[in-house]
Amino acid sequence: MEPPIIEDCRVNEAVDPDSPLGQTARAWALAVMGEDFPPERSRQFGAWLDADPRHRHAYEQAEAVVMMLGALRTPTAIEPVRRPAARWRVLAMAAAGGLLAACLALAVLALPGPTYETRPGESHQVALSDGSQIILAPASRLHAASRWRPRALSLEHGEAFFVVAHQGGQPFTVQAGDALVRVVGTRFNVHSGVGRAVRVEVEQGVVQVSNRPDRQDRVVTLRAGQTVVADTRGLTVGTLAQADLAGGWRQGRLAYDDAPLAEVVADLNRYGRRPLAIGSPATGRLKVTTAFDVAQADRFVAELPRVLPVRLTPDGRGGRILVAADPKRAPEPHAP
């Protein structure tokens, strides 16, 4: 695009942005858009504007540029310029810095955000730069969408408890499977289970969860003490007996309500116990309602054959397999 020719004579009246007046006007325009602007400040601002017609004139010019910048089309503005190498020389003066900056920006934008990962049996506390805290459960993996958006996180697998700091109304999001959790500042737990089921429990504040946001599915708003399971059937809201039961794994407590055995087993394996496998999908679909301490996990596993139609067999490598008690008649609790 050719450099525009500003023909309008009114521009002659432009206030020099480097004059003292121009600088003050710019400072006001930026304060409005980048800083707290409580009513007291507006009163000072109004007094300054009204003190001299030139003040208002200068301010309006600065504000106009601020507003124009806000209307830049994002892709062209943020994405770096790609130009053929042959044009290097032509562009040398203005673009050398620009290209360098563009490359740096590309690097920054393309840089994936940090990834946090825990091994089985270990959990890890993460402090984000915005003041938010994450407690990552064992064998879990979480990453930020990009350096550019540190408050947009994805829980790839496992479980994490979030203590979200308020940040000027900036949303904090956690994607897990197809579920998107959106909050401003609160404490909540996200568990990414088997079969793309995601469970969210809220200890404090308000959390919004949507399933398949791309398809504009329904959205639920959870308050403290509420929980939702997001899976292929949609969103199922429930309540916790007490709000502080959210993310109970942090105290070593695992609780399940009508959860598939596969989910319980997957969680147990995250705690780095003797590996436990499931012999058949049908066994994995058996429903379990229980609460126990991780330290008691071995006892829990040992007692499973007494409450479910399963038995334990060694896998020959130190681990165990949960198989249907009667392999000829594999339990199909949900099939007709």
Binding site: P3, P4, I5, I6, D8, R10, E13, P17, R26, A29, L30, V32, M33, G34, F37, P39, G46, E60, A62, A64, V65, M67, M68, L69, G70, A71, L72, T74, T76, P80, A94, A95, G97, A101, A102, L104, A105, G168, G169, P171, V183, V184, Q208, S210, P213, Q216, D217, R218, V219, T221, R223, Q226, G234, V237, G238, L240, A241, L245, D257, T290
Partner: protein
Amino acid sequence: MFEAKTSKLRIVEPSGLEPAAARPSGAGTGRWRDRPSYSATYAREWRDVCAFLRARFGPGPPDPEDVAQQAFFKLGELEGAERIESPRAFVFRVAINLMLDERRSQARVSRTLDASAPLLAIDSEETPDLERSLIAKQQMGLLEKVVQGLPDRHRRYLLANRLEGQSFVAIAERFGVSPSLVRKTVEEALAVCQRALIHGTADYRGLSRERSRRS
């Protein structure tokens, strides 16, 4: 027996706990007004926006509170999927644009054009006249070039503030620098843009501590 400890979690429908916002069956209610951050923004920013509009544009007409109300309404109407800047920045920006629109149409009626009018002709909702929109388009084109040519730090901070609506403090936290550095950097970048629009060409002098590559 594990059944003994069953009721740690109980599945119930949230009857009457929530107004319409939380009703799961409210198909596709992804609007901003249904979000918790909407009411939070409203509660936090309402007085600030109104006081600002009154200081900036006077008591009206249009009434500052009416305009603020409209701006919040527009925020509430946005679909949840739409990615916008921070709600505060959105409300300020929309409110200012509404005021400028109003004033522009008043100015057109009275045939007295504001001195800064060409710079203001940016929002596409109403195109006052062909010439003005042409100038505005040219200026936007120039501005995009200027912004792309800014040093990395200047452009990142400027766009984080102008496009994402982040406060200087938020940008400072995000990039791990001091708010005063962010402020100074955005100020310098804005000055470059202002000079470019006045002179019609980019001039990157006066930027702090950057690898200068021009003679």
